[in-house]
Subunit: 504 residues, 2 copies
């Protein structure tokens, strides 16, 4: 997108700018426009594209100036380069640079940018449409400019314009493999059947189930298949990733760009002082009701979210570190707790829950190592689904939502970055259930968490989530509830079903 | 506590109360005072202690009346008994009972109740101290009376007065067993050593650690000992208990009486509509900061808390059900996720964390079955700590906080209800760490969740939490980091330590 930036700023010095200093200033501006701002700009870029001080004047301690630019040495970058330069130049005249204040800042976008791409974006105080462009007046401080706010606004509008042009299609789906067909001995809904048998019961929160002994026997059978056939042969080591993700983690992982409608938020008490909470406790003791309104005023945050994607909270373990070549590819996994997603309401079975249990596999290394591990995992899963679980399944390459959100795929263009979704047919509904995935995430996480590898090569990572509820939903939907009809690899591991609870 | 209740109420009928109806009313009041209110009152209770209509009059459709009582057939209970009685009596005169409104309601407590026992308790609109008692004027509706608000207020004030008289001592500690002494080959702080070795690293949230492969080898060694020596021989079956506890669960479990300063609160998005969240996402994309203030306005709840005590969320599985004798005692456990406590700030190691991993064991049945299982567990733990982990430990009987909070122990007086805490010495600090417990909780949970057993006998339950961080903290503090010095039961299970990560 062709963009122009324009700013007016004031630079305050420690004393009046006298005639000699003014001469030095004139020279400094010339040097800035002629050399300083041109540094690093590729050859062939038209002069009008590069940052330039187009006007300046002094009054007392104050230097006022205007800078214009296209996409190269953008006006605000030029301002900061000039700050250093002019501080030196006037320092020789015993004038210290005290403060920079931004008077006006505008960004001009091409005329074609759709209106809906510029909604309530912060910092934009006025939008003016002219025949040759859209002018955005920004209310920004020096700090905001140092934080590259104008660049981020331009990028955001570009993304929104792009999303509008794609008509909201953010996922590309491409079939890669289809398994052999199997008999379909069962056509019931496994959740309903499990409820009837008292294997599971709704928890007290939405999309939450309590699992009795029998489904856990299935969960553990699947876990042991994953351990014996995938995790151990491929050399993954168990770790524990935290299950509460702070905003810092979700910012670095990229989820803070769009995950808000789907997370469970976590807040902390303002204090541990029991006196502060006494009347809340009293209210409950007197009414039998928890006073939610009183609680709202007494909690801080939200400080973050319940585990959503499982792998982000691994990365602080290696954040800011350089990993030895001998350790690569790093291969770890976590199965230490729950993931939570605020799913749409209505009636769903265990195939679509707010609280679920997943074995999360993570690896990273060079680009080659990372891509190769994804392929090995794919082969291992294929064997497990075909030979051990005997499922009817398929897999497809898709562009994951977060990459779509960040425009990563467009930017990278790599064939190998992306997600493979594994889907199983649910005979009772005739629909396909995504029950598994393998993702190659490119440099997203190593970059976000500043992880380097010894060789200095690009570092990539991958992850794969094994959802125990979804494996169970797919397996029972296809195989039914008679263990005699189950593949031996599952039936043998489950053994006889443990009927702990009999109710009257 | 000797208490008196006094109320004035109006009962509205569907038409004017004529002379004949008034005669019927006179009889009804006489019957109420003479028989209805006396029903169920133990012999020997002075007449003045029992509810009594002390005054009444009619005007048009309205019957006004005053009721006084001591602790038997309390004024509000008398009112509701009379409602039914008078509705029948005047029904014969074609007058239907339309509405009851409470005019005044006061509670008189003994003069000795300390002032601080009556803080900002809801419903109390005036407190008057007289030589012969403290009079509380309550602002209550008929609904509040049906909800037994006056009784709950009296109980609450009794508890507070009792707590004041105990001077805040809520835990009784009594040594039960002390293990043999062991050599102390190591005197370091295991957390510091593990950090140095890159075995663990602080997570991004407070009191949160990320565990690398080596401590997980220890966690899994302990898990396998627990499985092989305790869970399997004693016949416990694995389940999955939810890890988000709604207020309903925490109300029934009793935690809503006082857990507020120590929990992590969970809130939900007001909507999943991405448009509602677009400006939040935009703010992040433009500034790189998550706008916590904007989020606060867009979330609902708190709907509950992150798992705190682990066993409460099991109980909805059996809530409202009657369990067959053949299933008793029910023996289950959960190890499906994290527990979270908002601990005091400052520097702590893995022995005191906000996010931790626990195997939670739960059982219930008759009183005998429940107490016997606690004893069996105690024997199994004793064997494991002495013979397999070779720890220096002790155990003590303590009154758990929630029972103290609810005055349960005083009420029950049973020797067998209570908690046994297991403590291990930490040589580096010379302090004892509580690393394990076994609790017999009496009828608290079965009652709270309305669980019955086939025989109709009283149902009791117990629970025991095995904290993997605390086992690890105790073990490493006593045994150190050289596996050659570890007991064989642990060393063999750990095998060689898995050095996945080498950093430059």
């Amino acid at each position: 997108m062709q963009v122009r930036f324009s700013l007016k700023a004031g630079i305050t010095f420690s004393g009046p700018i006298g005639p000699e200093a003014k001469n030095a200033l004139e020279l400094a501006v010339k040097e800035a426009n002629g050399q300083l701002f041109v540094k690093g700009v590729p050859k062939g870029v038209p002069a009008g594209e590069v940052g330039r001080i187009s006007w300046w004047e002094t009054e007392g301690n104050l230097l006022s100036l205007a800078i214009e630019s296209g996409g190269y040495t953008r006006a605000h970058d030029a301002l900061f380069r000039f700050r250093k330069h002019v501080a030196q130049a006037l320092g020789k005249h015993h004038l210290g640079l005290r403060e920079i204040s931004v008077g006006e800042f505008s960004v001009t976008l091409p005329a074609g940018v759709p209106e809906t791409a510029i909604p309530r974006i912060p910092f934009i105080q006025k939008v003016e449409r002219k025949p040759d462009g859209v002018i955005l007046d920004l209310a920004v401080t020096t700090q905001d400019l140092e934080n590259r706010v104008p660049d981020r606004i331009v990028k955001l509008i570009e993304e929104k314009a792009e999303a509008i042009s794609y008509g909201g299609k953010t996922e590309h789906w491409e079939l890669m493999y289809e398994s052999p067909k199997h008999e379909r001995p069962y056509t019931g809904n496994p959740t309903e059947e499990m409820e009837k048998r008292h294997w599971i019961r709704h928890g007290s929160s939405r999309g939450q189930w309590i699992y009795g002994p029998q489904p856990i026997q299935l969960f553990r059978a699947f876990t042991s298949i994953v351990e014996e056939e995938i995790i151990r042969p491929l050399g993954f080591a168990e770790m524990i990733f935290p299950k509460l993700d702070t905003w810092d983690v979700l910012s670095r992982s990229g989820h803070a760009k769009g995950v808000y409608p789907e997370i469970y938020y976590v807040c902390t008490p303002k204090t541990r002082d029991p006196g502060f909470w006494e009347d809340v406790a009293d209210y409950f003791k007197v009414t039998g009701e928890v006073p939610v309104g009183m609680l709202r005023d007494r909690i801080d945050g939200p400080i973050g979210a319940l585990c959503y994607a499982q792998c982000p909270s691994f990365w602080p373990f290696v954040q800011g570190r350089t990993v030895a070549n001998a350790s690569l590819p790093v291969k770890v996994f976590d199965r230490s707790g729950t993931s939570h997603r605020y799913e749409s309401g209505g009636i769903h079975g265990i195939e679509r829950v707010d609280e679920f249990h997943r074995i999360e596999i993570v690896w990273f290394g060079t680009v080659d190592q990372t891509v190769k591990m994804a392929e090995e995992l794919h082969r291992a899963y294929t064997r497990v689904f075909n030979e051990l679980l005997e499922l009817e399944w398929r897999c497809a390459k898709v562009t994951p939502w977060f990459m779509a959100q960040e425009g990563m795929v467009g930017a990278c263009g790599c064939e190998t970055v992306g997600t493979t979704d594994y889907e199983a047919i649910l005979p009772y509904s005739g629909t396909w259930l995504e029950f598994q995935n393998v993702s190659v995430n490119g440099d997203k996480y190593p970059k976000g968490f500043n992880v380097k590898i010894q060789s200095g090569e690009e570092c990539w990572s991958g992850c794969s989530g094994i959802g125990l509820e979804r494996w169970t939903a797919a397996f029972l939907a296809q195989k039914g509830f008679d263990p005699a009809g189950w593949p031996a690899a599952v039936a043998n591991r489950v053994g006889s079903l443990n009927e702990v609870f009999r109710f009257l």
